[in-house]
Symmetry: C2
Subunit: 432 residues, 2 copies
């Protein structure tokens, strides 16, 4: 018998792993709910053409794309944005703002390395239908709130920029080839200063322009301060872009997250479809991949139908966030737990044990009972292995005295309870 | 611009649909937790060989099976049982009983019809590692509890049988070809009485045997009564099988679900791998597909590795259960809801509005604010469209009087609140 194992880059999550993962998803979901993002659920398989609209055939090399038995070209979704664009186009009746959240799996056929799997979870938050800076602030605030809830917001650099602002600052400094520059700026952190300048010049910028690009993209600091700095240094930059960044800072302040964010003019995010705001977050030690990233993409939805719909959103990365939590000794978030294990001392009190289990479950507790017929010690060992908080011991002699025994597993203490007062007793302790 | 739509048999779930679906998943999950089933998460793609172990190449016609870019044969999971068997074999250290729960998507390439999609959700509950009747009872009790929580348990026929019991009863009546008979019994309800007898005879049973099969598989009734009936009618049937069914009835009684279940000797469930208990549930009007189904399969896990591991479990069908809830006017389970919409009367109080929103969110409420810059009426209309329970109205004049206005959307009533006492006020009402 050959054992068949899982595919490379695909993970089996046993309960002791998944309980923490699920707690993280719950935290993200709770944040989404508080901010009024509604949960959606979409197919895990789409027509391959959906991805050609945005990316041409290039992206397809990195996807799971096939022909199905009906000879249709299909793809396991590598991202949810095209699907969301399709959903927005399909329903003209949706009231704006459309605020959607979802956590689900994505698939990419890439080389497997640390933090890069072929099957992975991603969370998506988007607001469709509004162009306002308040919407920009809201998605950043939602993202930052997740890290606040996790208690690691101080270990995260939240970096914000606006492509239009960058463009107008570059223009004001006499740099014209901003589109070319942006592509290179996206890779700036991977290069030495010299390489960066060389790369810019090799793409047709002159030395003075290249130096200006380097100078401008080195600007980074608290948003409000940095905006003031920009106003002084480049008074020629478009007022509108500067004003929008100021408004963003004010809105972020009202959300209580402005002090966490920095304006960093080197952030452009590679994806060409961003049209204004861009933001991403890294661990402060710069060891991990981006924790999340997003921005405004006002022209994308229009590619998928006859309506132009502005949009702003971000994708939350579960794997890098878990790596961060591990570095901060905050992982696992939760252990597998059972509230009560009902231990039956002998065969003839088993059904009585099941009745107690039923009552406890009716009160919402997580309860396990013996399914194996093992003895006292075996049951107690199992109760310990599943981290049961309490063990309710049902014995024949106890029952004859109208009693049962409650064992507190952490302290090891035991107390006798009136056999009819178990629930009342647990209620008096606020255990149920 | 051609709009690209979703694949046939794949569904887009918008928030107004998904909120109820999610509530149903939560109910199933809550039940799993109360019974001590642990959530796992497994790959949505497996090596195709995993399915050949159990079913040969036959099942593969109905799956999404492909070659990936590395020329590996892969399959979108049509069911989770082989994956679970793989997981159990992989980890020799797992303590028994191993109790696993999960709700996730499955894919089958079949003709699309009502209640049969190509992508669908399924819930799986299994107990591995124990042969006891208590484990049998627990999975049935968990399944029945879901319907109790949904308030439709009286609209469901919970049908229980044991293949070994059926076999021994048939043997006691002189029927030898029980394996052949079982295959035909599985289709009994699709045939007339005459067709059933003909089919049995065409497969080699003589007339007397065929009639006995018909007679035995017509036995159906409350478990305890029916067991008594069997004892009388067929005293020759194996004591062990009869005793196990009696024990099951007692355990189900302790779980408080025995009165919901019937012993029905025509239930065999097609899948050849069931080795003892089998059960399934239908709506009482018999209009829908099986709501759930399962049984004991003690020999399956052994096919996937070097350990024999007994198992009992069931698969919960979301689609037919939703159909049942619709018939009972219990669907949707839930509406999209927002606790508070913060309405800002003018531009200059927007940031104040955001601060209120933050405070309310910090108390766990679902809050939306204006992202569009629209006027009073527009905001109120939007608040209504998202079913906001309350609207907190922030106006400049109110603020100057140290006040804000709380509007109750259902009654339309408004009350003025001290602008610093909003949270205290909501707390006094138990709203937060």
């Amino acid at each position: 018998m050959t054992e068949i194992n899982s595919l490379k880059g695909f993970y089996d999550r046993y309960p002791e792993d998944y309980v923490s993962f699920r707690k993280l998803v719950d935290t993200v979901e709770e944040t989404a709910k508080e901010f009024g993002f509604r949960e959606i659920n979409t197919p895990n398989v789409e027509k391959t053409d959906l991805y050609r609209v945005k990316s041409g055939d290039e992206l397809l090399d990195q996807t799971y794309s096939f022909k199905d038995k009906g000879d249709r070209e299909i793809t396991l979704i590598p991202e949810q944005t095209p699907t969301r664009a399709r959903l927005v186009q399909q329903r003209k009746d949706l009231k704006t703002p459309i605020k959607w959240y979802d956590t689900s799996k994505r698939w990419r056929y890439e080389d497997v390395q640390k933090g890069r799997d072929r099957e992975f979870f991603q969370g998506d938050f988007d607001i469709f239908g509004v162009e306002s800076v308040e919407a920009d602030a809201e998605v950043i605030a939602a993202a930052a709130t997740i890290y606040k809830k996790l208690g690691v917001e101080k270990r995260v650099n939240f970096l914000v920029n606006d492509r239009k602002l960058l463009e107008s600052v570059l223009n004001s400094q006499g740099v014209e080839k901003t589109e070319t520059a942006m592509k290179i700026i996206d890779d700036k952190e991977k290069m030495t200063g010299e390489e960066f300048l060389e790369e810019l010049e090799s793409e047709g910028l002159d030395t003075r322009e290249a130096e200006k690009v380097d100078e401008v993209t080195s600007i980074s600091g608290p948003i409000k301060e940095t905006v003031e700095e920009l106003k002084e240094k480049t008074p020629e930059a478009a007022e509108e872009s500067v004003k929008r960044m100021e408004d963003l800072a004010n809105a972020l302040e009202a959300y209580g997250v402005e002090d966490l964010c920095r304006l960093d003019l080197s952030i452009v995010r590679g994806l060409a479809y961003y049209t204004g705001l861009v933001f991403e977050a890294f661990d402060t030690e710069g060891e991990l991949r981006a924790l999340f990233g997003g921005g405004r993409y006002d022209n994308l939805v229009g590619l998928f139908g006859d309506r132009e719909v502005p949009a702003v959103g971000f994708a939350f990365g579960y794997s890098p966030t878990i790596e961060l939590l591990k570095k901060e000794d905050k992982w696992p978030l939760k252990d597998v737990e059972t509230d009560v294990y009902v231990l039956t001392v002998s065969e003839d009190v088993r059904d009585t044990g099941l009745e107690y289990a039923k009552k406890l479950r009716d009160h919402g507790l997580s309860v396990e009972t013996d399914l194996t017929g093992r003895g006292f010690g075996g049951q107690l060992g199992y109760a310990d292995s599943i981290n049961a908080e309490r063990v309710l011991i049902i014995g024949k002699r106890d029952l004859e005295n109208n009693e049962v025994t409650m064992k507190h597993m952490e302290s090891g203490e035991e107390e006798k309870l009136d056999k009819n007062e178990v629930i009342n007793h647990l209620e008096s302790e606020n255990f149920v």
